[in-house]
């Protein structure tokens, strides 16, 4: 199972890659995509939508199950990954790269410190 050290994580199995200017990219972890199995559909929010931390911002569906996506921090949506519309399997094939789900503007940077690092997430996923 892949788990990049340079990312932050949530207990809901999202990853967050911090960029400059309070921007960030969000996706689901390798562990999450493996648990879901073949992903057939990803619903992403509209550009400009805002969400509180922990709010449902979309859904990932696999052949077996539908799973809500939760916003890691208070944020405004910059864009969704339009490539997932026709190729949602990219989330399976490349969860940390081509399979990214949304790009966001972080609205409360103080929440970043409460996210998990790779080793804390690894411990959580193990259980």
């Amino acid at each position: 199972m892949s788990l990049p050290e340079n990312l932050k994580y949530t207990s809901d199995h999202e990853w967050i890659k911090l960029l400059d200017n309070d921007e960030a990219v969000v996706g689901i972890t390798d562990f999450a995509q493996q648990s879901l199995g073949d992903i057939t559909f990803v619903e992403t929010p509209e550009e400009g939508d805002t969400f509180d931390r922990g709010a449902t911002f979309g859904v990932v569906e696999s052949v077996k199950a539908a799973s809500d996506l939760y916003m890691p921090v208070d944020a405004e949506v910059i864009e969704g990954n339009s490539g997932l519309e026709d190729a949602p399997e990219q989330v399976n094939q490349s969860p940390f790269d081509e399979g990214w789900i949304i790009k966001i503007k972080i609205l409360d940077a103080s929440q970043i410190g409460e996210l998990l690092d790779a080793s804390a997430y690894a411990e959580l996923a193990k259980n």
Partner: protein
Amino acid sequence: MPSIRKTPLDSFNVKYGGRMVDFAGWNMPVQYKSIVEEHKSTRSAAGLFDVSHMGEALVSGREATDYLDFVLTNDVSKMSIGQALYTLMCFEHGGVVDDLLVYKNSESEYLLCLNASNTEKDLDWLESKRDRFDACLSDVSSDYALLALQGPKAFDILQDLQTEGIGGLQYYHFAEGSITGVPCLISRTGYTGEKGVELFVAPENAAELAESILLAGESHGLVLAGLGARDSLRLEAGYSLYGHEINEGISPIQANLMWTVKLNKASDFIGKAALTAEKEAGPKKKIVFFKTGSRRIVRSDTEVQAGNRAIGTVVSGTFSPELNEAIGSALIDSEYSEAELSVDMRGKTMRLFQTDPPFIKLKP
């Protein structure tokens, strides 16, 4: 709760990466690598499925045929030795106890293959209806492991394995044979819509047989396939699954399965009166199949609407890798069978486009 049961191929399944889940009390592989890939490989080459959780019963005796014709809806008296028959078993009120395959071994002996989730119920039901017939009923489930080898390359693989017993074997017929010397009952049946066989084999020989098929199949593109692919393959093929398109509350008329109910057969049978009456009155509900034009799966139990009226429930829903869209089936009020159907998916209306099954061209 009784402890979970393991098939004779449990170690084999785990060894090859099966993701094991509890299905009807059995530890079964839902997938090995990917449901979609296993599905596609079965359509394009071949898939090998462990379906040993299915139950088996042996019916024998002087009146075995009469007994089965009384409890089953299809016409057992018309079967020839070596033939397999798909049939339903109904309650008096016309609802379905189970759907099953009957194999005619001899004039006085039949093997039944039952759904895992229903095996106990079926045996109890069959036993309760046996008293006025000179026939024996025995549970022989533990005598067999069951493998399904399905796909256009299935017979090429069998040929490579020095299979004996498949020469001239017709669809829905079976024979005793052997594969690399392992004796088995070879049945030209399946649940995928593809060419293929189902293999009844002694439990102690099951792993050896599965390993041989896997090895020989490799060069033909064979993959191990789990229950996930089994379900999407059967739904694409338009086959009913007990607990979904049929159950105690859904009759064969509603499920479009009257081709398995012989109202005019010589013997009376359980459910005949109710089904005859329902046929005359017209069914109040019916099973319809649908496409969606979307990749979003409409799951079982989703409410189906016509306009703003709730008129039914989705009973099966999956992603069709062949059509690249979500497909499914629903039980709806018959009077709305021509209406525009839709479902609410988290606040978004999604159309259901009715279509006659199968969704794909069957090539069995």
